[in-house]
Symmetry: C3
Subunit: 222 residues, 3 copies
């Protein structure tokens, strides 16, 4: 069963890398918000495992993977500690948050979709869960840090779209038994590249036409 | 077993209608906040299925209904697309959000309570879960869009109260085996009417007396 | 089996007290935010049962304990009603929120860790779940009320740290079969005292060094 072997090793590695980069994005946002080491740790953990925990709760796969594998818990602590000491060498912090976040997005939409398919979800649901795995942790990070979630922000570049496309690609690849470490890596690279290109060139999704300049919208926030 | 037949057909229809109207309320709020089509889709999905997913996770009914029935997932996409093209004909958007939200509130407090009772929850818990189904999606919509949840807002008209009353009515009707499509429809109409009347006439729940004008309250937000 | 007897009686009592004090902290925050009685009830419920529900969902212990025991549901209603009438005698409300919140924190980190261990979680995961039980309800309270969560706030005194230490102490005590009503009470007292001392003396966790005064951080909120 090569598929199982693939799941058991490459999937695990991809998942650890995704956890690590998302944890760094959370810790860096905490630095940017001037939080202390505890806030850095909390945001690192939630960003890293939030999306996967949501996915596993919905799949009924309890306890979630992050609560049965201590490495998953300790990695974000390492990421937070590392960020605590070396964030000053990282250039512009906001730019670094975006790069690490894009890497996590790409990794988690692939691993999330794969797990959903392994739990016999239909194609639509698998794509939704893959995308949720990818964006869920970041949404929790942004809500807790009182930032507008990137997936919603009015002036945001494509964020959920690359994750949905990546998840759909995984579903198609698996349907035609073309899913293997090489095609998985290509999918991850494509999602990452699409997100970075959207940031670089300002690609955006279409807006609904506004009837008239809406004077109340900018001040609609609570 | 007419009750089962009722559940299997009328409940499904009520649930789809509730999903659709909540999805429109989410998509309209996204228009109001000037989000793009992705933000509209995300808010439509979360408003439509958020309360039901919460209820099903608490019941241990995993995967939640919304993840085993693709229609549930595709309906909010249709609602978001529809809203994208026709929102300009909807008069004042904020008023339309409130009407569709009230319809979803009425439908979901009935279907949510029914499902909780089918899972053998006690009366208090069934009322709580029915109300949670009704207000959960809207709370998630408002938190993600950085709006004060309607259920909490200091100057809000009755919102949770109609849902709790509707859920209690369903519990009573089922206890006396008087629950059928007609009484369900009447309950839904009552909840909707109560919410709309509260909005129309400014009915509010009592406030705790303030000792002295609290100068710090207005600026207490984070 | 004294351990079981301990769980079945003392644990239940500690849990009820924790629910009650957390509910009061939620109701008081609602008073401070000028919410009505409904908002007080919602914040009381969510603060009181939010952390435990999260823990139980992660453990796969569904329905969560709060949905199988009506007392758990009714206690926050009592707390909200009580707060509605007597909050004016409570001196400074914000100070009272902090005291009741500290008591809930101390009680729930002990009961949460105990339950996680009873569900055969490893030590790291049990500490994480104990801390999550302790801080989860307060985080939900603060997010819904649009306050910065105390666990993150940039200028906050130690909050998660006492909970993590208390949870770790429970794990150690149980490992050496020294966990009993007396040591549990001592642990609760220590966590409460540590939190109150941190508030009194302004103890804080270390911050990452800022490269330069970051002019954008104060305005980084959404």
């Amino acid at each position: 069963m090569p598929a199982v072997t693939f799941n058991a090793t490459v999937e695990l590695a991809l998942n650890y890398i995704g956890i690590f980069v998302f944890a760094i994005s959370g810790a860096l946002l905490a630095v940017h918000k001037n939080y202390d080491i505890v806030g850095m740790t909390v945001l690192a953990e939630i960003t890293a495992i939030g999306g996967g925990v949501l996915r596993d709760l919905i799949l009924g796969a309890t306890p979630p993977a992050s609560f049965t594998d201590s490495v998953t818990f300790l990695l974000p602590l390492v990421a937070a500690a590392l960020t605590f000491f070396i964030h000053q060498r990282m250039g512009r912090i906001q730019a670094a948050v975006l790069v690490f976040d894009a890497a996590g997005l790409a990794l988690f939409c692939v691993t999330g979709t794969t797990k959903a398919l392994a739990y016999h979800m239909g194609p639509v649901e698998a794509i939704a869960l893959g995308a949720l795995t990818a964006v869920g942790g970041g949404i929790m990070r942004d809500v807790l840090a009182n930032e507008q979630p990137a997936v919603l922000r009015a002036d945001s570049e494509l964020y959920a779209v690359p994750a949905v496309l990546g998840a759909a690609l995984v579903v198609i690849l698996q349907r035609f038994t073309l899913y293997n470490p090489v095609t998985a890596a290509i999918t991850i690279a494509l999602v990452f590249a699409l997100r970075m290109a959207a940031l670089r060139y300002g690609w955006r999704a279409p807006h609904p036409r506004q009837r008239t300049p809406n004077p109340s919208a900018p001040s609609a926030g609570a």
